[in-house]
């Protein structure tokens, strides 16, 4: 498969692995966080751990949109879906995420709520046009990659004069999350990190500049990388070299898609429709200032929060669930007592076990054989 197989070439991978093994210093740890769930998935699916030296550890970051959505907001979406006049359109990943009281969108749908799984905001717009008697709400989640399509859908709805389409906006910002991690006060829950594998698709939109602050202020190297396994290997090598050289800068491995400035048209469109929220709750990171978007007043008629008077009530995760600490990189999936016992992809207790980009789901689905090897060895 052209343009894909090149980035999954095992021979090249072994070459990079050998270089990494040769260049890492045996006397120090290398702790890199891959921010995005897309990278977490690639690392697990292609078994990258097997190709990396023992003193180099990949720490999974919070870049999984489904994972970081707090329970309170999910409860809001379920409540919206249960209104008799509402048709809720959502990406399929969200369907099985557990909300409060064991409720989920899947269960609400089985109870009779009108919930549709869509591939894009355009599907939701189409449903709104076809069903003028229904209030069609799009459950907007995700980072800078999924925000422009939500903005476009709102602009399109305005152009079409739709009176029955709205967006329940939960769009969040990547740099704010990275800031929350590197800027966290020193303490037990602060994860020591030597660098970041920076986002792939997000960076196509926002460019490389927003990361410069982390490299400069916190002396953390950032290498932006594509989601293919060779991209990740190459980025790890580039991070190792920065660490060894004592450099901390933003480097771009993903030059085939990412530029310094990103996609200006997308940025403009987003800025036209959305504005910063003062603060937003993240699962794992807690309340993070300036980390999320809401609709501008000019588009209030498409804002589900205003139309349906949504007031989010903070809700607790399952107390035994370690999703929060796992999303901060503080714990590994196997540190959670629920992992693989009561919490599996079939019966997820926490969000990290639902999305295929979640650390727990990725490790359970692709990597858990390593745990049994470890157990037998010990």
């Amino acid at each position: 498969m052209k343009y894909v197989d090149e980035y999954r070439d095992g021979k090249l991978a072994r070459g990079i692995a050998a270089t990494i093994a040769r260049e890492v210093r045996p006397d120090r740890p290398y702790r890199f966080m891959e921010f995005c769930g897309g990278h977490t998935h690639a690392i697990a699916r292609y078994g990258l751990e097997d190709l990396l030296p023992e003193n180099l550890r990949m720490i999974h970051g919070p870049g999984c949109p489904v994972c970081v959505l707090p329970v309170g907001r999910l409860n809001d979406a379920i409540k919206l879906a249960r209104r008799p006049e509402v048709t809720l359109c959502t990406y399929a990943d969200l369907m099985r995420v557990p909300g409060s009281d064991g409720m989920s969108l899947t269960k609400a749908k089985a109870d009779g709520a009108d919930i549709r799984m869509v591939y894009s905001t355009l599907d939701a717009l189409r449903i709104a046009q076809e069903k003028p008697a229904r209030q069609v709400v799009f459950f907007g989640i995700g980072f800078e990659t999924t925000t422009p399509p939500s903005a476009l859908a709102i602009l399109q709805a305005k152009k079409l004069g739709l009176k029955n389409f709205s967006v329940f906006c939960n769009h969040v910002l990547t740099p704010a999350a990275i800031q929350a991690i590197v800027g966290a006060p020193e303490g037990a829950s602060k994860v020591p990190l030597d660098g970041f594998v920076g986002p792939a698709h997000v960076s196509t939109v926002i460019g490389t500049r927003p990361y410069e602050h982390f490299a400069e202020t916190y002396a953390k190297p950032v290498v932006i990388a594509g989601f293919e396994p060779l991209d990740v290997m190459q980025a790890i090598l580039m991070l190792v070299r920065q660490v060894n050289d004592g450099r901390a800068m933003v480097e771009n491995e993903y030059i085939r898609a990412v530029t310094q400035d990103g996609n200006l048209k997308a940025q403009e469109t987003v800025a036209q429709v959305f504005e910063l929220r003062d603060t937003f709750e993240w699962r794992g990171l807690g309340a993070v200032a300036d980390s999320a978007l809401r609709l501008r007043d000019a588009y209030a008629e498409f804002d589900a929060e205003k139309i349906f008077d949504v007031h989010t009530v903070a809700a607790q995760d399952n107390p035994a669930c370690e999703c929060g600490a796992i999303l901060r990189g503080e714990k590994r999936p196997t540190d959670c007592k629920l992992f693989g016992t009561v919490c599996t992809p079939e019966t997820p207790m926490g969000s990290c076990m639902v999305s295929s980009e979640g650390s727990c789901a990725a490790h359970w689905t692709y990597g858990r054989f390593r745990d049994s090897e470890n157990r037998r060895a010990s």
């Binding site: 498969m1 095992g10 699916r45 078994g47 097997d50 396994p229 692709y366 990597g367 054989f369």
Partner: protein, 349 residues
């Protein structure tokens, strides 16, 4: 005055629709069965017109199976719900090494379903049955109100005879056994999905839907005593089937990604749709577990059959109390090949 004729006018197979009278037990039903089903399934047992088929069976152990078909869309590249219903049931019998004999077919039709489509489906079923060497010997027809079904649902059952001395079963794999697949994986699921999503590729992806009893007969004839088990990786794909067998046989499975036959267009479609070919359904493929010393011979025999020309050895069984199915990826790392969680492709068969 002459006696009323049973069939005053022939069914309108161009613009006619199924209506509730076609399931009511009256003349309309008799006409539908006669002109569509009996016409296309024509065989001596069905022609007797009884509520059951009565026949004698050759010596050996009997194999019996049943399956329901609700695929959407009803017509897809490479087949339709009718041919699929025959192939699926024939294959379930063949996986026991059985020679399939007779099938039953039960139809649940939705009011308003075009008779032309029903006739096409019945025609495909008849052709698939003849090609597989089986007879559809008994059946049933029900009609439900519009909105209570989705066009047509078909339920088939089948019986076959397993030759004496052959005992294939999912619990018979043991460490060291070699695993073969009869051809490219994921074709059926991707054909369904791409017709549903209107995806266009340079070459159209066809479903692999086919009856495997001929291929199985050759395999049994050549290597019967070394065969442990056969299974067709339908829903859930190769991944689910390997996991089922690992659990049933109390073993682990190790496969090589590089050895898996996948058509480039199927791989491309999976990439686009975010699917893994290992989880995607097949309807004309089988996997075989065989004693290691017979593996090469079995591979040769399979490749000589048109339905096994792309057959490959993909891995082997190991001792593993966790029953893991593990794969060495093309990239070089190891990973688990897990059951699919949740729903990947609704209503693929």
């Amino acid at each position: 005055m002459s006696a009323p004729r049973l069939r005053a006018r022939k069914l309108d197979l161009k613009t006619g629709k199924v209506d509730l009278s076609h399931g009511a037990g009256g003349r309309a039903m008799a006409q539908l069965i006669g002109e569509i089903f009996a016409e296309n399934f024509a065989n001596d047992l069905l022609a007797q017109g009884n509520d059951q088929a009565v026949f004698s069976v050759p010596p050996g152990r009997l194999a019996m199976t049943t399956d329901g078909y609700v695929v959407s869309p009803l017509f897809f590249p490479g087949g339709n719900i009718g041919s699929l219903a025959v192939h699926g049931t024939v294959n379930d019998l063949a996986m026991a090494g059985a020679r399939p004999l007779h099938l039953s077919a039960s139809f649940i039709l939705e009011e308003g379903f075009p008779l032309a489509d029903l006739a096409r489906i019945a025609e495909s079923m008849g052709a698939a049955a003849r090609e597989a060497g089986v007879k559809i010997v008994t059946g049933d027809t029900k009609v439900v109100e519009r909105g209570k079904a989705d066009g047509v649902f078909i339920s088939t059952a089948g019986i076959g005879v397993v030759p004496d001395g052959l005992d294939l079963s999912g619990d018979k794999a043991r460490p060291g056994d070699v695993i073969l697949v009869s051809g490219t994986i994921g074709d059926h699921g991707v054909a369904i999905m791409s017709s549903r999503e209107n995806l266009q590729f340079e070459t159209q992806i066809l479903s692999d839907s086919a009856a495997l009893n001929g291929l199985v007969a050759d395999m049994v004839a050549a290597c019967g005593e070394s065969l442990r088990l056969l299974r067709d990786p339908t829903r859930g794909g190769l991944a689910a089937t390997l996991n089922e067998i690992a659990r049933q046989s109390n073993i682990g499975v190790r496969i090589e990604e590089d050895a898996l036959p996948v058509k480039p267009e199927v791989a491309a479609a999976c990439e686009l749709l975010g699917l893994d070919p290992l989880n995607v359904a097949n309807e004309g493929k089988l996997i075989a577990f065989v004693a290691p010393e017979a593996a090469e011979k079995l591979l040769r025999v399979m490749r000589e059959h048109p339905l096994g020309k792309d057959a490959a050895i993909i891995g082997a069984c190991v001792d593993d109390p966790h029953h893991f199915v593990q794969m060495r990826t093309s990239f070089g790392g190891g990973r688990i090949v897990d059951w699919l969680s949740g729903e990947q492709l609704p209503r693929i068969c």
